[in-house]
Protein backbone atom coordinates (compact mmCIF):
# COMPACT_ATOMS: atom_id res chain seq x y z
CA UNK A 1 0.00 0.00 0.00
CA UNK A 2 2.63 2.52 -1.04
CA UNK A 3 1.41 5.62 -2.78
CA UNK A 4 4.26 7.89 -3.65
CA UNK A 5 3.96 11.27 -5.23
CA UNK A 6 6.88 12.77 -7.19
CA UNK A 7 9.60 14.37 -5.14
CA UNK A 8 8.86 17.98 -4.43
CA UNK A 9 11.51 20.44 -3.33
CA UNK A 10 10.36 23.08 -0.90
CA UNK A 11 13.00 25.68 -0.16
CA UNK A 12 16.01 23.90 1.24
CA UNK A 13 13.94 20.92 2.27
CA UNK A 14 13.20 17.99 0.07
CA UNK A 15 9.98 16.32 0.94
CA UNK A 16 8.49 12.93 0.14
CA UNK A 17 4.84 12.23 0.60
CA UNK A 18 4.79 8.56 1.40
CA UNK A 19 1.64 7.23 3.05
CA UNK A 20 3.39 4.04 4.12
CA UNK A 21 1.26 1.86 6.37
CA UNK A 22 3.26 1.28 9.55
CA UNK A 23 2.03 -2.25 9.99
CA UNK A 24 2.82 -3.07 6.36
CA UNK A 25 5.33 -5.77 7.34
CA UNK A 26 2.74 -7.44 9.59
CA UNK A 27 -0.02 -7.30 6.99
CA UNK A 28 2.33 -8.75 4.36
CA UNK A 29 3.00 -11.80 6.54
CA UNK A 30 -0.70 -12.07 7.47
CA UNK A 31 -1.51 -12.40 3.76
CA UNK A 32 1.04 -15.20 3.42
CA UNK A 33 -0.64 -17.04 6.32
CA UNK A 34 -4.06 -16.48 4.73
CA UNK A 35 -2.84 -18.02 1.46
CA UNK A 36 -1.31 -21.03 3.22
CA UNK A 37 -4.45 -21.88 5.17
CA UNK A 38 -6.54 -21.35 2.04
CA UNK A 39 -4.59 -24.16 0.36
CA UNK A 40 -5.31 -26.65 3.16
CA UNK A 41 -8.79 -25.23 3.89
CA UNK A 42 -7.97 -24.99 7.58
CA UNK A 43 -10.20 -22.60 9.50
CA UNK A 44 -8.05 -20.13 11.45
CA UNK A 45 -9.65 -18.38 14.43
CA UNK A 46 -7.97 -15.62 16.44
CA UNK A 47 -9.32 -15.69 20.01
CA UNK A 48 -8.85 -12.48 21.98
CA UNK A 49 -9.94 -11.21 25.38
CA UNK A 50 -8.60 -9.62 28.54
CA UNK A 51 -6.61 -11.89 30.92
CA UNK A 52 -8.66 -14.38 32.91
CA UNK A 53 -11.86 -14.26 30.90
CA UNK A 54 -11.73 -17.98 30.13
CA UNK A 55 -9.98 -18.42 26.76
CA UNK A 56 -7.96 -21.47 27.76
CA UNK A 57 -10.89 -23.10 29.57
CA UNK A 58 -12.99 -22.57 26.44
CA UNK A 59 -10.22 -24.15 24.32
CA UNK A 60 -10.29 -27.19 26.65
CA UNK A 61 -14.08 -27.36 26.55
CA UNK A 62 -14.17 -27.01 22.76
CA UNK A 63 -11.56 -29.76 22.39
CA UNK A 64 -13.59 -32.11 24.61
CA UNK A 65 -16.73 -31.49 22.55
CA UNK A 66 -15.27 -31.50 19.04
CA UNK A 67 -11.99 -33.46 18.96
CA UNK A 68 -13.70 -36.72 17.94
CA UNK A 69 -15.52 -35.02 15.05
CA UNK A 70 -12.89 -32.63 13.72
CA UNK A 71 -9.12 -32.29 13.74
CA UNK A 72 -8.19 -29.26 15.76
CA UNK A 73 -5.14 -27.66 17.37
CA UNK A 74 -4.26 -24.52 19.30
CA UNK A 75 -1.32 -22.12 19.30
CA UNK A 76 -1.34 -20.01 22.40
CA UNK A 77 0.50 -16.76 23.09
CA UNK A 78 1.60 -15.60 26.51
CA UNK A 79 4.28 -13.30 27.87
CA UNK A 80 5.72 -16.12 29.96
CA UNK A 81 5.19 -19.82 30.93
CA UNK A 82 3.98 -22.91 29.07
CA UNK A 83 0.97 -23.31 31.38
CA UNK A 84 -1.80 -22.77 28.86
CA UNK A 85 -0.41 -25.14 26.22
CA UNK A 86 0.02 -27.82 28.90
CA UNK A 87 -3.61 -27.40 30.01
CA UNK A 88 -4.87 -27.69 26.43
CA UNK A 89 -2.67 -30.74 25.68
CA UNK A 90 -4.31 -32.55 28.61
CA UNK A 91 -7.47 -32.76 26.49
CA UNK A 92 -5.54 -34.76 23.89
CA UNK A 93 -5.14 -32.18 21.13
CA UNK A 94 -1.96 -30.62 19.79
CA UNK A 95 -1.09 -27.28 21.39
CA UNK A 96 1.98 -25.07 21.02
CA UNK A 97 2.98 -22.23 23.27
CA UNK A 98 4.38 -19.01 21.83
CA UNK A 99 6.22 -17.20 24.60
CA UNK A 100 6.41 -13.56 23.54
CA UNK A 101 8.93 -12.60 26.22
CA UNK A 102 7.11 -9.46 27.26
CA UNK A 103 5.40 -8.46 24.03
CA UNK A 104 1.74 -7.69 24.70
CA UNK A 105 0.29 -9.19 21.49
CA UNK A 106 0.98 -11.79 18.81
CA UNK A 107 2.27 -10.59 15.43
CA UNK A 108 1.81 -12.36 12.12
CA UNK A 109 5.53 -13.18 11.98
CA UNK A 110 5.30 -15.16 15.25
CA UNK A 111 2.32 -17.13 13.97
CA UNK A 112 4.00 -17.83 10.63
CA UNK A 113 7.15 -19.08 12.36
CA UNK A 114 5.26 -21.88 14.13
CA UNK A 115 2.73 -22.64 11.38
CA UNK A 116 4.86 -25.47 9.95
CA UNK A 117 4.77 -27.19 13.36
CA UNK A 118 1.15 -28.04 12.60
CA UNK A 119 -0.02 -30.67 10.14
CA UNK A 120 -2.24 -28.21 8.27
CA UNK A 121 -3.13 -30.74 5.56
CA UNK A 122 -5.01 -32.76 8.17
CA UNK A 123 -6.23 -29.89 10.33
CA UNK A 124 -9.83 -28.61 10.07
CA UNK A 125 -9.52 -25.95 12.75
CA UNK A 126 -6.59 -24.02 14.18
CA UNK A 127 -7.12 -21.62 17.07
CA UNK A 128 -4.74 -18.81 17.90
CA UNK A 129 -5.27 -18.01 21.56
CA UNK A 130 -3.90 -14.48 21.66
CA UNK A 131 -2.20 -12.74 24.58
CA UNK A 132 -4.81 -11.60 27.11
CA UNK A 133 -5.19 -7.93 26.17
CA UNK A 134 -8.04 -6.01 24.52
CA UNK A 135 -5.82 -3.23 23.15
CA UNK A 136 -2.76 -4.16 21.05
CA UNK A 137 -3.97 -7.49 19.57
CA UNK A 138 -6.77 -5.54 17.84
CA UNK A 139 -4.24 -3.87 15.50
CA UNK A 140 -2.43 -7.01 14.34
CA UNK A 141 -3.98 -9.07 11.56
CA UNK A 142 -2.80 -12.66 11.97
CA UNK A 143 -4.29 -13.91 8.71
CA UNK A 144 -7.30 -15.34 10.54
CA UNK A 145 -10.66 -16.17 8.96
CA UNK A 146 -12.56 -14.95 12.01
CA UNK A 147 -11.80 -13.06 15.16
CA UNK A 148 -13.65 -14.14 18.29
CA UNK A 149 -13.57 -12.05 21.46
CA UNK A 150 -14.52 -13.27 24.92
CA UNK A 151 -15.93 -10.85 27.45
CA UNK A 152 -16.52 -12.32 30.92
CA UNK A 153 -19.53 -11.22 32.92
CA UNK A 154 -17.13 -10.29 35.75
CA UNK A 155 -15.52 -7.64 33.53
CA UNK A 156 -18.64 -5.46 33.43
CA UNK A 157 -21.13 -4.78 30.64
CA UNK A 158 -19.63 -1.35 29.84
CA UNK A 159 -16.41 -2.71 28.33
CA UNK A 160 -16.98 -2.78 24.54
CA UNK A 161 -16.82 1.00 24.09
CA UNK A 162 -13.70 1.19 26.22
CA UNK A 163 -11.93 -1.02 23.69
CA UNK A 164 -13.66 0.05 20.47
CA UNK A 165 -11.05 -1.19 18.03
CA UNK A 166 -11.24 -4.74 19.37
CA UNK A 167 -15.04 -4.91 19.22
CA UNK A 168 -15.07 -3.22 15.83
CA UNK A 169 -12.74 -5.82 14.33
CA UNK A 170 -14.22 -8.91 15.95
CA UNK A 171 -16.83 -11.16 14.34
CA UNK A 172 -18.25 -12.94 17.37
CA UNK A 173 -18.46 -11.87 20.99
CA UNK A 174 -18.69 -14.71 23.50
CA UNK A 175 -20.09 -13.47 26.79
CA UNK A 176 -18.34 -15.92 29.12
CA UNK A 177 -18.89 -17.01 32.74
CA UNK A 178 -22.66 -16.66 32.35
CA UNK A 179 -23.10 -18.95 35.40
CA UNK A 180 -22.10 -15.93 37.51
CA UNK A 181 -24.87 -13.70 36.13
CA UNK A 182 -27.15 -14.10 39.19
CA UNK A 183 -24.45 -12.51 41.34
CA UNK A 184 -23.40 -9.64 39.11
CA UNK A 185 -24.81 -6.29 37.97
CA UNK A 186 -24.31 -7.36 34.33
CA UNK A 187 -26.89 -7.84 31.61
CA UNK A 188 -26.54 -9.43 28.20
CA UNK A 189 -28.80 -6.69 26.77
CA UNK A 190 -26.53 -3.88 28.00
CA UNK A 191 -23.29 -5.47 26.77
CA UNK A 192 -24.84 -6.37 23.41
CA UNK A 193 -26.21 -2.84 22.96
CA UNK A 194 -22.83 -1.29 23.80
CA UNK A 195 -20.94 -3.63 21.46
CA UNK A 196 -23.39 -3.31 18.57
CA UNK A 197 -23.22 0.49 18.67
CA UNK A 198 -19.59 -0.01 17.68
CA UNK A 199 -20.12 -3.01 15.40
CA UNK A 200 -23.67 -3.61 14.18
CA UNK A 201 -22.73 -6.89 12.48
CA UNK A 202 -21.35 -8.48 15.67
CA UNK A 203 -22.74 -11.90 16.57
CA UNK A 204 -23.20 -12.64 20.28
CA UNK A 205 -23.37 -15.97 22.15
CA UNK A 206 -23.63 -16.28 25.92
CA UNK A 207 -21.54 -19.17 27.27
CA UNK A 208 -20.39 -20.88 30.43
CA UNK A 209 -17.61 -23.46 30.26
CA UNK A 210 -18.69 -24.59 33.74
CA UNK A 211 -22.39 -25.30 33.10
CA UNK A 212 -22.08 -25.83 29.32
CA UNK A 213 -24.58 -23.05 28.57
CA UNK A 214 -24.12 -21.92 24.96
CA UNK A 215 -21.28 -24.37 24.29
CA UNK A 216 -23.30 -26.36 21.76
CA UNK A 217 -24.27 -23.13 20.00
CA UNK A 218 -20.59 -22.09 19.90
CA UNK A 219 -19.54 -25.52 18.56
CA UNK A 220 -22.29 -25.35 15.91
CA UNK A 221 -20.98 -21.91 14.88
CA UNK A 222 -17.48 -23.40 14.47
CA UNK A 223 -18.66 -26.44 12.51
CA UNK A 224 -20.69 -24.21 10.19
CA UNK A 225 -17.63 -22.04 9.47
CA UNK A 226 -15.43 -25.13 8.96
CA UNK A 227 -17.96 -26.51 6.45
CA UNK A 228 -18.21 -23.13 4.70
CA UNK A 229 -14.44 -23.07 4.27
CA UNK A 230 -14.32 -26.62 2.95
CA UNK A 231 -17.14 -25.77 0.56
CA UNK A 232 -19.61 -28.34 1.93
Amino acid sequence: MIEKSPKTARGSVQCENTNIHLLKANDFVADIIRKEIAKTKTLLINVTSSPGSGKTTLMQKTAEKLKDKINMAVMVGDLETERDAERIRETGIHALQIVTGGICHLEAQMVHQVLDKFDLENLDLLFIENVGNLVCPASFDLGEDYRVTLLATTEGDDKPKKYPKMFLTTDLMLVSKSDLLPYLPFTLEAVTKDAREVNHELEVIQISSLTDEGIDEWCDWLVEKINDKKGF
Partner: protein, 115 residues
Protein backbone atom coordinates in the same frame (compact mmCIF):
# COMPACT_ATOMS: atom_id res chain seq x y z
CA UNK B 1 5.90 -1.69 25.09
CA UNK B 2 3.57 -1.33 22.15
CA UNK B 3 4.91 2.14 21.31
CA UNK B 4 8.51 0.87 21.34
CA UNK B 5 7.75 -1.75 18.73
CA UNK B 6 5.87 0.84 16.66
CA UNK B 7 8.93 3.14 16.70
CA UNK B 8 11.12 0.21 15.67
CA UNK B 9 8.81 -0.60 12.79
CA UNK B 10 8.75 3.07 11.66
CA UNK B 11 12.54 3.16 11.50
CA UNK B 12 12.80 -0.27 9.87
CA UNK B 13 10.21 0.73 7.28
CA UNK B 14 12.15 3.91 6.46
CA UNK B 15 15.43 1.99 6.22
CA UNK B 16 13.80 -0.36 3.71
CA UNK B 17 12.22 2.48 1.79
CA UNK B 18 15.15 4.90 1.45
CA UNK B 19 18.87 4.68 0.68
CA UNK B 20 21.36 5.14 3.51
CA UNK B 21 22.73 8.42 2.02
CA UNK B 22 19.21 9.78 1.95
CA UNK B 23 18.47 8.74 5.53
CA UNK B 24 21.61 10.59 6.65
CA UNK B 25 19.92 13.76 5.42
CA UNK B 26 16.54 13.00 6.98
CA UNK B 27 15.15 16.00 8.82
CA UNK B 28 11.69 15.04 9.96
CA UNK B 29 9.13 12.24 9.96
CA UNK B 30 5.41 13.01 9.81
CA UNK B 31 2.91 10.44 10.99
CA UNK B 32 -0.86 10.34 10.63
CA UNK B 33 -2.36 8.42 13.49
CA UNK B 34 -6.06 7.66 13.68
CA UNK B 35 -7.90 7.69 16.97
CA UNK B 36 -8.70 3.97 16.48
CA UNK B 37 -5.09 2.92 16.01
CA UNK B 38 -4.54 2.63 19.76
CA UNK B 39 -1.51 4.91 19.56
CA UNK B 40 -1.01 7.62 22.14
CA UNK B 41 1.11 10.41 20.58
CA UNK B 42 2.78 11.41 23.84
CA UNK B 43 3.92 7.85 24.56
CA UNK B 44 5.13 7.48 20.99
CA UNK B 45 7.25 10.61 21.42
CA UNK B 46 8.74 9.12 24.60
CA UNK B 47 9.49 5.84 22.86
CA UNK B 48 11.11 7.77 20.01
CA UNK B 49 13.38 9.62 22.49
CA UNK B 50 14.34 6.28 24.02
CA UNK B 51 15.12 4.92 20.53
CA UNK B 52 17.72 7.69 20.11
CA UNK B 53 19.75 6.28 22.99
CA UNK B 54 20.40 3.19 20.88
CA UNK B 55 20.41 5.01 17.54
CA UNK B 56 22.03 8.45 18.03
CA UNK B 57 22.34 8.84 14.23
CA UNK B 58 18.65 9.79 14.15
CA UNK B 59 18.64 12.10 17.16
CA UNK B 60 18.35 15.26 15.02
CA UNK B 61 15.32 13.90 13.16
CA UNK B 62 12.09 15.34 14.52
CA UNK B 63 8.87 13.34 14.81
CA UNK B 64 5.53 15.00 14.09
CA UNK B 65 2.32 13.21 14.88
CA UNK B 66 -1.02 14.30 13.49
CA UNK B 67 -4.06 12.69 15.13
CA UNK B 68 -7.08 12.16 12.91
CA UNK B 69 -10.72 12.02 13.97
CA UNK B 70 -12.97 9.07 13.28
CA UNK B 71 -15.25 9.41 10.24
CA UNK B 72 -17.63 7.02 8.50
CA UNK B 73 -19.34 7.32 5.15
CA UNK B 74 -22.85 5.85 5.01
CA UNK B 75 -23.15 3.14 2.31
CA UNK B 76 -26.78 4.12 1.72
CA UNK B 77 -26.93 7.93 1.70
CA UNK B 78 -23.16 8.64 1.31
CA UNK B 79 -23.29 11.14 4.16
CA UNK B 80 -20.02 11.54 6.10
CA UNK B 81 -20.37 11.50 9.89
CA UNK B 82 -17.73 12.32 12.47
CA UNK B 83 -18.10 9.63 15.13
CA UNK B 84 -18.49 10.70 18.73
CA UNK B 85 -18.53 8.29 21.67
CA UNK B 86 -17.97 5.33 19.33
CA UNK B 87 -21.59 5.24 18.15
CA UNK B 88 -21.18 4.06 14.56
CA UNK B 89 -24.41 5.57 13.22
CA UNK B 90 -25.00 7.80 10.20
CA UNK B 91 -26.16 11.16 11.58
CA UNK B 92 -28.20 11.79 8.42
CA UNK B 93 -30.25 8.60 8.05
CA UNK B 94 -29.57 6.85 11.36
CA UNK B 95 -28.31 3.60 9.82
CA UNK B 96 -25.40 1.72 11.43
CA UNK B 97 -22.21 1.60 9.37
CA UNK B 98 -18.66 0.29 9.69
CA UNK B 99 -17.46 2.04 6.54
CA UNK B 100 -14.61 3.93 8.19
CA UNK B 101 -12.96 6.46 5.90
CA UNK B 102 -10.70 8.10 8.48
CA UNK B 103 -9.44 7.37 11.97
CA UNK B 104 -7.89 3.91 11.60
CA UNK B 105 -4.70 4.97 9.85
CA UNK B 106 -1.19 4.44 11.08
CA UNK B 107 0.80 6.09 8.33
CA UNK B 108 4.20 7.54 7.66
CA UNK B 109 2.61 10.40 5.82
CA UNK B 110 5.61 12.51 4.87
CA UNK B 111 9.39 12.49 5.27
CA UNK B 112 11.56 15.57 4.90
CA UNK B 113 15.23 15.58 3.89
CA UNK B 114 17.90 18.29 3.83
CA UNK B 115 18.51 19.26 0.26
Amino acid sequence: MHETSIVNSIMKTLELEFEKEKLDKMKSIHLKVGILSNIEPRLLHNAYSAYHMMHPEYSAVTLNIESTELKIQCEVCNHITQIKNYRFLCENCGRPSKNIIQGEELLIHKVEFED
